[in-house]
């Protein structure tokens, strides 16, 4: 059975159901699965719970799913670049669960690794800690410190973007476009990867595979716009 699909909408076929939980890779607009997000929008699936560090920008990336009101709830760490998000949230139209970025990454890692929960110092004494179990552990100085319990996260569908992939689903990522995608690949019941380039099996050096193929069920080659949020340059 081949993992390769010809188009983004083929690769998402049967996965875009109302009410599903979707993990979407990327940091800001860097490393987002542009074509798979667009396929999700075109499917019309609604009441989605979307787990993603950010919410795209107005009209691009996950911002597209917000405009069409397909998202019921976001789990994110930072949404400051998206006015429509802010408007829907402050207007009570959208649920939002803020997670500290490291807690979010670790919850996804844990979910994918079969770990139901873990204790962390991040967020102790803040709104994030409210309603969560607190537990004391000694630190290396012998002092007692308080930690909170955070739970692992899983998704029905994970959509990610990689640089190169093969028919086995092995992936490598480019530069800082890697971010959340390797953990998200492990935490999705079905993981779909869009890649800049599908290469022949055997051409990727096994020493340098970032995501082994076992975590990837579907793969599609697609052209990304790769929009830049803050083009910052120095004089050549």
């Amino acid at each position: 059975m081949s993992k390769i699909y010809q188009t983004a909408s083929d690769a998402m076929a049967g996965l875009c159901k109302d009410g599903v939980t979707v993990m979407s890779g990327g940091f800001g607009l860097c490393g987002i699965p542009e074509n798979l997000i667009a396929a999700m929008r075109d499917s019309g699936a609604k009441d989605l719970t979307v787990i993603s560090n950010n919410a795209g920008v107005d009209g691009f990336g996950l911002g597209q799913l917000l405009e069409t009101k397909q998202v019921k709830k976001m789990i994110s760490s930072y949404v400051g670049e998206n006015k429509e998000f802010e408007r829907q949230y402050l207007g009570g139209e959208l649920e939002l669960e803020f997670n500290p970025q490291g807690t979010l990454a670790e919850r996804i890692r844990a979910g994918g690794a079969g770990i139901p929960g873990f204790y962390t110092k991040t967020g102790v004494g803040t709104l994030i800690a409210e309603g969560k179990e607190h537990k004391d552990f000694p630190n290396s100085n012998g002092d007692v410190e308080t930690f909170i319990l955070e739970t692992g996260l899983k998704a029905d569908v994970t959509i990610i973007k990689a640089w190169k992939g093969d028919a086995e689903g092995n992936l490598i990522f480019k530069a800082t476009a890697r971010n959340f995608s390797p953990m998200m690949a492990t935490a999705g019941t079905v993981t779909v990867a869009e890649v800049d380039e599908i290469v022949p099996v055997g051409s990727l050096d096994p020493n340098f595979i970032h995501t082994p193929g076992i975590f990837v069920q579907r793969i599609v080659q697609a052209k990304c716009e790769k929009r830049i949020e803050q083009r910052t340059v120095r004089e050549g």
Binding site: C30, L96, A105, A175, E229, R231
Partner: protein, 217 residues
């Protein structure tokens, strides 16, 4: 006639914070004024900048020809690599931060309290941006410096007795650098002490603009 404003500019605040860098440090710089610290690393001090979206050894901004959409910092600005650079995923990045491997974090603040609490991620009912990596940084990094304007637009102190905004972290700030001066403290139990005044600023002015109970001598 416009008079020169007394105190430090944003760039001078960043330069002052940069004096806290030590050779061999791994450092995370927050968005805004803290980013400017990278322009003021003292000669002979070799530090490695971490960007929490997944990079160690952050290089300068690219030339027009070098711009790569896949290579950005945590402020979403395009950047470049250095020979020593490495890339990694977000869980590894926050293992560096939460695991206590980063020596120094310099971050912006809306409020800092006299017991070292910091608030910098939301204004209830008004601004919803989120904490990003800030809660992880203040909980996990060995030493945290808050860099911010001493007062808000209405002239009210931002270095106060107790934070009024939702906290980013408790008892985690070790040094405060503002446009008016520098305050630091030895440990999580100690009070802040005024360490230096910015040029043109006298003690009476700082005292009148500081709500926090600090040691003035």
């Amino acid at each position: 006639m416009a008079l020169d404003k007394a105190g430090w500019t944003r760039d001078q605040m960043a330069a002052r914070a940069a004096q806290e860098l030590e050779d061999g440090f791994y450092v995370n710089l927050g968005i805004g004024i803290p980013t400017l610290v990278a322009n003021h690393i003292p000669d002979g001090i070799n530090v490695t900048l971490q960007s929490e979206n997944g990079m160690l050894g952050m290089g300068p901004f690219p030339t027009e020809d070098e711009v790569d959409a896949d290579l950005i910092n945590a402020g979403k600005q395009t950047i470049t690599t250095l020979p020593k650079s490495s890339f990694f995923d977000s869980a590894t990045s926050f293992a560096m931060i939460r695991g206590g491997h980063i020596d120094l974090s310099i971050l912006g603040a809306m409020e800092v309290s006299e017991n070292g609490d910091i608030a910098n991620w939301m204004i209830p009912g008004k601004m919803v941006k989120g904490m990003g990596g800030a809660m992880d940084l203040v909980a996990g990094v060995k030493r945290c410096i808050a860099l911010f304007d001493h007062t808000n637009k209405r002239g009210e102190s931002k270095f106060i007795k107790a934070c009024t905004l939702p906290l980013t972290g408790q008892n985690c700030i070790h040094m405060v650098v503002t446009d008016l001066g520098v305050f630091d403290r030895k440990s999580g139990q100690a009070r802040f002490r005024l360490r230096e005044l910015a040029p043109g600023i006298d003690l009476e002015e700082v005292r009148s603009k500081t709500e926090a109970d600090v040691i003035w001598s």
